[in-house]
């Protein structure tokens, strides 16, 4: 397409876009694609440079996303439980919550109890249900080993009904 014959204004448009991309430098005809096909090809140095930058940024974003996913997988949260069912704990219980694929596990730090769930909330709710169940078991009688009798004493002192 010659510079003089431009019935659809495509050459003019091309020059305008090139000027915007390259600033004051306006490439001559030998540097710009001359046909519609060549116009569609990204062999324009400025465009190729931009494409390379886009690829670099995309690669960096993918790497950062992988790091974020790894941090999520390995992170451990410590929360406190202050209520179970309708009972209040005078001293909230420390609970460690972490990923345990395919779900999550919530483990009481001071008691041999855990809860597993598809998400953090479900795991914590399971743990609360377990604690409630354990308390009910311990209150039934005193036929427990010394370790469990100590746990019973601790819960009796800590749970406010």
């Amino acid at each position: 397409m010659s510079a003089q014959y431009d019935p659809y204004g495509l050459v003019k448009q091309r020059d305008k876009m090139a000027a915007e991309a390259w600033g004051s430098f306006v490439p001559g005809p030998e540097q710009l694609p001359s046909s519609a096909y060549e116009q569609s090809r990204p062999n324009n140095p400025a465009v190729e440079s931009l494409l390379t930058m886009v690829k670099l940024v995309t690669t960096k974003c993918e790497r950062l996303q992988k790091e974020i996913d790894l941090i999520k997988k390995t992170s451990v949260r410590v929360i406190k439980i202050g209520m179970i069912s309708e009972k209040r704990l005078k001293t909230p219980l420390d609970v460690v919550v972490e990923l345990d694929e395919p779900g999550f596990i919530a483990r009481a730090v001071d008691l041999p109890l855990y809860g597993h769930g598809d998400d953090v909330c479900e795991a914590v709710e399971m743990l609360k249900a377990e604690l409630n169940s354990l308390y009910a078991d311990l209150m039934e009688d005193d036929n427990f080993s010394d370790e469990w009798l100590n746990i019973k004493k601790y819960l009796q002192e800590n749970i406010q009904e």
């Binding site: 972490e98 345990d100 694929e101 395919p102 779900g103 596990i105 483990r107 041999p112 109890l113 855990y114 809860g115 597993h116 769930g117 709710e125 399971m126 249900a129 377990e130 169940s133 354990l134 078991d137 036929n143 427990f144 080993s145 010394d146 370790e147 469990w148």
Partner: protein, 102 residues
Amino acid sequence: MKNTSYKSQHVRKRCETKLDIEFRDGRSSESNGWFKYEGVKVTRITVPKGRKFIPDKTYKSMAQQLKLTTDQLDGLLECPIKMKQYLEILKEQNLLPKPTRG
């Protein structure tokens, strides 16, 4: 650790047959039961319901509840460890109640 080899129902079955643990179904998605020695409750285990394979940390927690290492729990679930060996493991850790005289 062979947690991927066992499903919850397998673990529960082994605990019932080898350790005479009677499980009760919890309110939601877990069953729990006590291991008793001479009528005294010594350890308590929680087993997730359903037929899912057991995740790593859950399996480790279950072993800890039974006062076992994960290798020992593997042995219990496979075959080697039986009631007698389990009692010896608990005895080594001084977890068994002393026999009452009278």
